[in-house]
Subunit: 403 residues, 2 copies
């Protein structure tokens, strides 16, 4: 099945908005075994939208669009589709009632609804509307020639809702026994992971894909079911230490490992400035495990709140394993936790020296069995060094809890 | 000038990678007054790449590609371009020397360089290479018919470097007197900002664009120079309170306002879990102003480290203005700062009640002139409530410092 996406909007072409919708749809289809063949992005110009619909409906079996379903005159997707299909429209009472209700929920009376919203209640002749429960814009489904066209709004939340409610069920899983499996790993450079996967001798009929999300990597295996399942076993064996397991991300995996031990977790952060706490508390329910973090950016806070001995900072510097150890122990004490992790490093761009270049980060882990420290030299800009440091700290806690 | 982008790679179509390169190039061109007309994304399949080059070079003046310049057999961009142009290639000594040197820097000897890397030293006949100082893959420039084609790597850092070094200078600014101006504002819902901008009666020849970045909004004005400058004045007047000014983001603006007062800044965070500290320390040089933050996720930490009176939590709850005031005062004391901001709220999805629904967030500002508190009811999911809370806290500090 030849599937194409059409994303519509000046903001995508001017770089005001990243085209995350195309990625989301591609990923959702890929999970069903379908593949998006091409993505085309055009401006909010009637001639451009018509050109795209004409070209795509002539060659594709399925066309999914996003954008241009709003109420304003810039929203031309339905007009373009109707022009290419050569059809008119009728006013749809259900769609209009939904629009009226959504305005009423926000306290807007019927007579105060912007008149242009009535454009969102147009149903192209021969087509169906994909009624929305999360916005005023219904989607549209219409067959043009041999091509089934689905139009969704550009607002990601509304697009995703319609995709899951209407479009994915309409497409169903791809015929054939191809499957996709994903192995999620933490904090291994892509190249070293690649070497390990290749060493695991994945059979050639299995496609291997990568997706790096900050400091986590998803390895995607796709192909005939039997070969993929065998390859998955091989890859999991080769990467046993780095796997996050079945958890959606490293922070969730770390919290689960602590919870399994009955541990409460705390932190002391310098160069990450609170990002470690932010990553942990991004997980709903993290309060059952996580007590808090001392963001000790200034040395006075390291000494005053965490109780780091000034002599340690004078002798070894704030970015040192002795300081990381003292920070972790101070956080364990101040926060009343079972295990505390500390991060102190040089994220850059300034602050580096020949002995301690930018990217030098020291970690401390203070737990029931004492304190351990490690130093890493992380590569990347300020943001990347901080993200890697957060991931390394989380993974260290996870490993301590699993040990 | 008709400009199109071509982005190449299975990972873009399968949603393993978001197509941020297209957005980046669009934004860079827009800043010069150029507009990207269309973006096409195709798979790493020779026939697809050739189809795209054939179609785009027949209709565009400029085609900029990204992706498919790596050393492996999946990297087919140059092959596709040469096939459509009908040209061969010669080995380029400068490009090869660059590849050898980059490997040598990583301790790889000549005989250990993967043999397929020699593909990256191919210079299409009649074209030029865009030598890279940040990667092994040179870009390619070649004129096909009336279309000037520029090929860049898919790695964002390498693409950006070649774009700025070679392609933007080659295009130069767009002829004509169209200009773009951006007004950056904090923490106003897009719709309310829109109302204010419309109320400012922007002349119709000025295009108004929006870009929401978390809780900041960029308003883009584009059109004839005179009208845009007049519109910018109107918009700035209408949005005087919300403007971040000339700073790149709200955290930077907040730090600058504190620095101007000679203030040191600290924080106490509950529901944001460290994200406020993370946002502040994302700014290089923030250590001159920011001492640290106490992430008091558990009530025991609010009491133990921040010294919040247990009676306050028992009487009013942890999400209350009295608790926010006590947290801010405790942080001001513990961190030794001039102004401390506190955040305590219910980010969801759990924890809400009829009196304090999800999204209820209390803020405290403890400064040299005493302590003030505020409560906000923020809308959105957990991540959005947290981001808005961080922005509201930053903006509150900024306004205190400017007062």
């Amino acid at each position: 099945m030849h599937i194409e996406l059409l994303t519509i909007g000046d903001e995508l072409l001017d770089g005001m908005t990243v085209n995350s919708n195309a990625g989301h749809i591609g990923r959702a289809l890929d999970a069903l075994g379908h593949r998006v063949m091409r993505v085309t992005t055009v401006r909010d110009i009637p001639a451009e939208i018509e050109w795209a619909f004409r070209a795509i409906t002539a060659r594709a079996d399925v066309c999914i669009t996003s954008g241009g379903l709003g109420p304003t005159v810039d929203d031309m997707t339905v007009d373009g589709l109707m022009a290419v299909a050569g059809v008119g429209f009728t006013h749809d009472d259900v769609a209009w009632a939904n629009i009226v209700r959504r305005y009423a929920d926000r306290g807007v009376a019927l007579q105060d609804i912007p008149p242009q919203n009535i454009r969102q209640a147009r149903r192209p002749d021969g087509g169906e509307l994909l009624y929305s429960e999360v916005g005023t814009a219904p989607g549209v489904a219409l067959t043009v020639g041999r091509c089934r066209v689905f139009c969704t709004p550009g607002v990601p939340r509304e697009m995703k809702w319609q995709l899951e409610r209407y479009i994915l069920p309409a497409l169903g899983p791809s015929p054939g026994d191809w499957i996709r499996r994903i192995v999620r790993i933490a904090l291994v450079g892509e190249s070293s992971a690649e070497v390990k996967v290749l060493a695991a001798a994945v059979p050639t009929e299995v496609e291997v894909g990568w997706r790096a999300i900050d400091s986590e990597i998803e390895i995607k295996l796709r192909g005939p079911a039997e070969a993929v399942l065998a390859a998955e076993q091989q890859v999991r064996a080769a990467l046993a230490d780095e796997q996050i397991g079945e958890h959606p991300d490293l922070a969730t995996a770390t919290l689960a490992a602590c919870r399994a031990r009955g541990w409460h977790l705390g932190a002391a952060e310098s160069c990450t400035g609170g990002e470690l706490g932010g990553a942990i508390t991004n997980v709903p329910g993290s309060s059952e495990v996580f007590n808090g973090s001392i963001v000790a950016y200034a040395n006075t806070v390291k000494m005053g709140v965490l109780g780091v001995d000034p002599a340690i900072i004078e002798t070894y510097g704030a970015v040192s394993e002795p300081c990381a150890a003292a920070m972790a122990e101070g956080a364990r004490r101040a926060l009343g936790v079972d295990i505390a992790v500390s991060i102190t490093g040089i994220a850059g761009p300034g602050g580096g020296s020949p002995e301690k270049p930018v990217g030098t980060v020291c970690f401390g882990f203070a737990g029931p069995d004492g304190t351990r420290t490690e130093t890493r030299w992380l590569r990347g800009d300020r943001a990347l060094v901080r993200r890697y440091a957060v991931a390394f700290a989380l993974n260290g806690v996870r490993r301590h809890a699993l040990a």
